[in-house]
Subunit: 229 residues, 2 copies
DNA sequence: CCCGAACGTTGTTCTAGAGCAACCTTTGGC
DNA sequence: GCCAAAGGTTGCTCTAGAACAACGTTCGGG
């Protein structure tokens, strides 16, 4: 394992208040791990032995129902902590984390959580801000699912992804990881058929441009309107 | 304001690790407040100036959409903290808290939050466990809304309420606060009409017994089956 | 005791979107 | 270069449940 550079962590919120030696200490206790696309980092219900920092790639957080259906709760972009069950007093992961693209992560044993929180100023508060944002996002999901139609939910889902993991291209903003119709349907509680139809319609209208496993949003503004101003 | 007794707080999770003098200190800094049914304790988006402990009654946590629709995210039973926005680094309440019944609360200025966390062992961890449970509940809501039919969602919603705020009676377990069809529909993302129809049907089947603003679950087991084993 | 508002019921209509089905397209492994 | 698997499209049917509507019932305040 080669030595990681401090500049990797220094700009990230949970570590932004720390001095170089502290970051060094954190890095020295980290294990670096790679995951292939589609592989799961941990499974719902498993003992929460580690927590992670996502260095590169995107995580899809899913729940699997007793009858095998998948529901995507959240996407986590690079630069954020994940698998931080201990922060909410859980000793087991509440959901499964799947690599939406190839991943690069750092990983610490959960036993270190407590010392991170006490030893490193700002770590706890910044981490809880992240948790707060995720909770807020989940809350929005609930409101959307209760009040909005499929078209609006899908529009918003795409906008959220674009905002979080968008990459500028000439023709629009591209979602920066492979994503299928099925994936979108699992984010919005619909079927891949409905997503496919909508995306086709939007493509005809020049709103989006999508290929196999790729979605580019060309006209975010009109999509916002569709999502319900 | 009359002096509150330490035994009020001692058994509650966030305070269960504390000595009497510490609890005394906490109580001495608390303000006790009453709220009538239907009144809101705080509103979404307002500055989070206080955090609360619910001594008696039930809180309905709602979000209101731009076009005036209400969505209930959560119910909070007596004995729990609420309005704890600061725990997730927010300076504004993420939702509105409405008194589902007459309420009795204790209330502290948010400025004390930090000292509670640092001065009182177990306070932080126990509080975050509560947050964790609420997040888990929200997660379940999302999964339910994505995969289950209205009948199952309503069945589960009732079971959740009964588990959380149930009071035994001769004919079954009663939900311990006034609750209308409309309320149930706002919890499940449906209409009061659909809820009314279902409740009528269930009543005929002897599953529930409901009057105006009252719901008694007579056969929880069969309701579990309906909710999807 | 009366009246109006809040709450609840029930019937009918209508449609969004699921379900089913068939087929096309891309891709990567051998 | 072929072919099987994964992903995507599109048409048709059918139904859960929303929307609309009209009418009961309970309750609390003056």
């Amino acid at each position: 394992m080669h030595r990681l550079d401090e500049s990797l962590l220094a700009p990230l919120p949970p570590f932004s208040f720390l001095e170089r030696p502290q970051i060094r200490a954190i890095l020295d206790r980290a294990t670096s791990r790679r995951f292939d696309e589609g592989v799961s980092v941990f499974e719902e219900g498993a003992a929460a032995n580690s927590f992670y920092l996502l260095l590169d790639g995107t995580i899809r957080v899913v729940k699997i129902t007793p009858d095998g259906e998948q529901v995507t709760s959240l996407h986590i972009p690079a630069g954020q902590l994940f698998g931080i069950a201990p922060s909410l007093g859980r000793d087991t992961y509440p959901a499964t984390a799947i690599a939406a693209s190839e991943l690069l992560t750092l990983c610490w044993p959960t036993s270190l959580w407590h010392s991170f929180v006490t030893d490193y100023p700002g770590f706890a508060t910044e981490t809880y801000k992240t948790v707060g944002n995720r909770v807020a996002e989940m809350n929005n999901r609930i409101v959307e699912m209760s009040t909005q139609h499929v078209e609006q939910r899908i529009a918003r889902a795409l906008l959220r992804l674009v905002k979080q993991s968008g990459k500028k291209t000439e023709i629009g903003i591209e979602i920066d990881f492979p994503i299928t119709r099925q994936d979108v349907s699992e984010m919005t509680g619909t079927t891949l058929h409905t997503v496919s139809r909508l995306l086709s319609a939007w493509e005809k209208d020049g709103l989006v441009n999508s290929k196999r496993k790729k979605i580019i949003v060309c006209d975010p503004h009109r999509l916002v309107v569709l999502g319900g101003a």
